[in-house]
């Protein structure tokens, strides 16, 4: 006997598609919510995309943020954002991009200022400066990467499977990315290059899921010739359910350890992936299958192409 997460198989499938109206509405509502949050709250773009200067310093004592702000204000850094980073003693100071020349030395100025006026034993942990031009380019390249990734995947999956499966896979990816971004807008987490990497990894992961399911759907359409498409999809989802759950579980495990132990710099990445993996699991079970049905998939679409015999379409000579 096996130790199993689920006790379902083809003879006793879970009727996932019975809930498809409900889950479709759920998806639509959450998507609309995400878009609303994104347009109202806006994303908190990180330094990589906005440009500007950021320093992370470690003080020898827990830092008094309001005192820091006063010092900065008195020295023409009134526009600086000051916040704790990880511990009480670690502080992040971020200054928006400036037009005047010499903006690349703002980081040095800040360090010198804090060292002389606040804490001589302060330690520099990190300095980042991104020129406005570079920020714009990174944002452009990032957006492009997401779009190119989706197009490549659309092409590959259409080529390997069928356009209905490919299209619904990509719509599912779109949903995953939208949810993660919506959540980031809601909590105003900073979106930087590592988040972009996480989004692409989510795309890869979520696609993994939908390919396993799509593969099974194709196989079962050929196998269960008497079942209607809804049942075939239900059976396929049930058969792959334990795999979907086990893989999600192991991935979630490592992501949680990453979130707990990986340190501040990787926190955003871990959160984005964690959300992405959870949404990805949902979308590969519900969103995609629902869409495949709505697009009207049938057995004929998934039959292996018949090998044409040479001359078969011609009348026999004799």
């Amino acid at each position: 006997m096996f130790f199993e997460i689920t006790k379902v198989d083809e003879n006793n499938p879970i009727r996932f598609m019975n809930y498809r109206k409900l889950t479709t509405w759920l998806s639509i509502i959450v998507a609309v919510l995400s878009i609303t949050i994104l347009s109202v709250n806006k994303l908190n773009w990180g330094l990589d995309f906005t440009g500007g200067t950021l320093i992370e310093v470690g003080f020898s004592q827990p830092a008094n943020l309001s005192e820091l702000r006063e010092v900065l204000e008195a020295n023409e850094f009134g526009d600086a954002v000051v916040q704790n980073y990880g511990t009480q003693r670690d502080v992040l100071v971020r200054v928006p991009p400036r037009d005047e020349a010499g903006s690349e030395s703002i980081g040095d100025q800040l360090l010198r200022l804090l060292q002389s006026e606040v804490d001589p034993d302060m330690v520099m942990r990190r300095v980042e400066f991104v020129g406005p031009q570079v920020g714009e380019e990174l944002a452009e390249a990032g957006g492009l990467a997401l779009i190119v990734a989706m197009i490549c995947i659309l092409v590959y999956v259409s080529f390997r499977f069928e356009w209905r499966l490919a299209l619904s896979a990509v719509v599912g990816l779109f949903q995953d990315v939208l949810m993660v971004l919506g959540l980031f807008a809601l909590f105003q987490f900073s979106v930087d290059l590592t988040i972009l990497a996480a989004l692409l990894a989510v795309i890869g992961y979520s696609l993994n899921d939908s390919i396993v399911v799509a593969d099974r759907i194709r196989e079962n359409f050929r196998k269960f010739r008497k079942e209607d498409p809804v049942s075939v999809i239900d059976i396929s989802l049930s058969q792959t359910l334990s795999r979907t759950l086990v893989t999600s579980l192991t991935t979630i495990m490592v992501l949680v350890t990453l979130l707990l132990f990986g340190g501040q710099m990787i926190e955003g990445f871990a959160i984005a992936m964690l959300v992405g993996v959870i949404v990805g699991t949902y979308s590969s079970i519900f969103t995609r299958s629902t869409l495949v049905l709505a697009l009207g998939i049938s057995r004929e679409d998934l039959m292996p192409p018949e090998v044409e015999k040479e001359g078969a379409d011609q009348d026999p000579v004799l």
Binding site: V134, L144, A145, Q239, T247, I266
Partner: protein, 616 residues
């Protein structure tokens, strides 16, 4: 039915795993504190230098753990970071400006591993600490100066030929000349035709206009030169910083990446990188004797200069020309195929050169390269103290009265000619450069990142191992073995690929592949369970499970590989590191999860004819 792999397949799998493990091995030995010494400005690393280094250290009670010389570098291994810092200071004082003494970490692996090309993982700047600069060459400014130059040159040429013009102006990168009469137009056309390389002449007789259009090739050349010139200068500067493994390379059309591992004082780094170099042409003093001057009787109006590679030269105090009049310098060959350097001056420089050399044909002329080198001291206002270092890099005899274009011949080798033209360009009018991106990570944060990353990887790894062991029992243990092998192989391959560096996101990538690598085994094992439920025999279930799962796993991994490649293409620095580990992890996990587990399962259960149950 039995499940067996042919012998060659088992051997091939073992061999691949063996090599993966072999190249991962250097990582467990750790690193020694080291000081790395290399030569610059004509210095040379010889066995004498090696003796000198050893003597200096011994005299000051520093016992090196190891001392070796290879590839023109000396590597001194030391026991502690205190020794390392002390040794560096001693050696800088002892060896002087002709040597670069840099702090470094040297892999402590045994010699045989180094001999087969083993190397530990290279850590990215976010893990080892250091500075990353992205610099942009201001091409607009470089071109603007170039065009201004050209307008003056053309104007002077027309005046010289007594051709009357209405105006000479720049239009984009072209020069537009308006003549006063058809006669002037005709003579201008014949004068300017084929006069300037890199420009194409277009004439318009009706409006008496001549347009000198910059060719695309010339434009590309100017861009390339501006970048090369700045890279050369940056190399010299970086040498001064005493950085062990700097990276300086062109990125895209007009940018340069500079990576300085271990450097934390960015203010100092920027000052040193921004220090200027210049160049002077002077006459060699032939009236007085060099011997007398060397003995302390330096004549009035002259001065002694160091010569690169050793020796001295007595040069006149009067400067003929400074480097900011140099427009270009190219190495090439003369009529007899001997190496030479062609130099182009701006028109003012040409006039000065022409005046100065009129009566001095046959006299030797020296090229002096001047750098400003940080002494390591700080001035009162917090700025660095720079010392002016002058060196004679070339002496040539003036063959004829020189103008705005002249050449230096009689150079020993092609290599020397190239070096001289590089130096001439480095001291020339510089295309301005600006820092557009900086990322500095302090050593404490770097070390913390390594610790955090390792903890996360280990914890995540152990969790997955426990889960798989419980859920899939003995088959789970096989998957765990594959997972472990996978980790070793990722490290081995990353260590082997020269360009691959481990970054913080890269560590996340490794952890993620741990989570995702089990997916292949999950798919296979779930399949085997299904086959068993359908009533197949254990051996058949194993065979069919692997067979049916393969295309699914391949499809799923190829799409992830696509995203990794895209990430690599658009990502910078640490993100590229993530893409690399992800891609390597996908490939190795396919190998270990499909072939590796199958080999183990075949060997363990595949030979048993009476197998009735699987521990899955």
């Amino acid at each position: 039915m039995l499940n067996r792999y042919p012998l060659w397949k088992n051997l091939a799998i073992m061999l691949i795993v063996f090599f993966g493990a072999l190249y991962a091995l250097p990582n467990i030995y750790g690193e020694d504190y080291a000081v790395q010494i290399s030569a610059t400005r004509g210095g040379e690393i010889t066995t004498q230098t090696l003796d000198q280094v050893e003597r200096t250290l011994r005299q000051n009670n520093i016992e090196p753990r190891g001392l070796s010389m290879a590839d023109g570098q000396i590597l001194v291994r030391l026991d502690s970071d205190d020794d390392q810092l002390a040794a560096r200071e001693l050696l800088v004082d002892e060896l002087g400006l002709q040597y670069i003494v840099a702090l470094n970490l040297a892999p402590a692996m045994p010699k045989w591993l180094a001999a087969i090309g083993g190397d530990p993982l290279k850590l990215g700047l976010d893990l080892r600490g250091g500075v990353h600069f992205l610099m942009e060459v201001d091409m607009e400014e470089a071109l603007r100066k170039m065009n201004e130059q050209m307008v003056t040159t053309v104007r002077d040429r027309l005046i010289e030929e007594r051709i009357r013009y209405r105006g000479v102006a720049e239009d984009g990168n072209d020069i537009v000349i308006q003549l006063r009469s058809p006669e002037d137009f005709q003579s201008a056309v014949s004068t300017l035709r084929n006069e300037y390389a890199g420009y194409e002449m277009r004439t318009e007789a009706g409006t008496q206009t001549i347009r000198l259009a910059m060719t695309e090739q010339n434009l590309q050349e100017i861009r390339a030169n501006a970048i090369d010139q700045n890279i050369t200068i940056l190399r010299n500067r970086v040498d001064e910083l005493g950085v062990a493994e700097p990276l300086i390379q062109r990125q895209g059309q007009d940018r340069i990446v500079v990576e300085l591992p271990g450097v934390q004082d960015t203010a100092r780094a920027k000052e040193i990188l921004g220090a200027t170099a210049t160049l002077e042409f002077r006459f060699v003093d032939t009236e007085n004797s060099l011997q007398d001057a060397l003995q302390g009787r330096v004549p009035f109006g002259s001065r002694l200069f160091d010569q690169r590679g050793g020796g001295k030269q007595l040069l006149e105090n009067r400067i003929i020309l400074t480097g900011d009049h140099i427009v270009n310098a190219q190495s090439g060959f003369d009529e007899n195929g001997r190496p030479q350097v062609n130099i182009t001056l701006d028109s003012a420089g040409g006039r000065m050169m022409s005046l100065a050399t009129r009566d001095r044909i046959g006299d030797p002329m020296a090229t002096v390269f001047i750098e400003f080198i940080a002494t390591g001291e700080t001035l009162e206002d917090g700025r660095l103290d720079f010392q002016r270092v002058e060196e004679v890099v070339n002496v040539a005899t003036i063959q004829a009265r020189l103008g705005s274009g002249f050449r230096i011949t009689g150079i020993g080798s092609v290599q020397d000619a190239q070096n001289l033209s590089l130096i001439l360009r480095a001291g020339a009018l510089i295309a301005p450069i600006q820092i557009v991106e900086e990322r500095t990570v302090g050593p404490s944060l770097g070390a913390e990142n390594v610790r955090a990353g390792m903890t996360a990887i280990l914890a995540g790894f152990v969790l997955v191992l426990i889960f798989m062991g419980i859920y899939y029992r003995k088959f789970g243990l096989v998957a765990n073995l594959a997972l472990l092998t996978n980790l070793v192989m990722i490290v081995g391959i990353m260590s082997l690929i020269p360009g691959a560096t481990l970054t913080m996101p890269g560590m996340a990538g490794i952890l993620l592949t741990v989570g995702m690598a089990v997916d292949a085994n999950v798919i296979i094992f779930e399949r085997i369970r299904e086959e068993l439920k359908e009533g197949r025999s254990p051996q058949q279930a194993i065979a069919r499970g692997y067979e049916n799962a393969f295309s699914t796993i391949a499809d799923a991994n190829i799409t992830t590989l696509i995203t990794a490649l895209i990430l690599f293409a658009v990502g910078t620095g640490s993100i590229k590191g993530f893409a690399v580990t992800l891609a390597i992890g996908i490939v190795t996990s396919m190998f270990t999860a499909i072939l590796g587990t199958r080999a183990v399962i075949n060997l363990t259960w595949g030979r048993n004819k009476r197998l009735t149950e699987l521990s899955i």
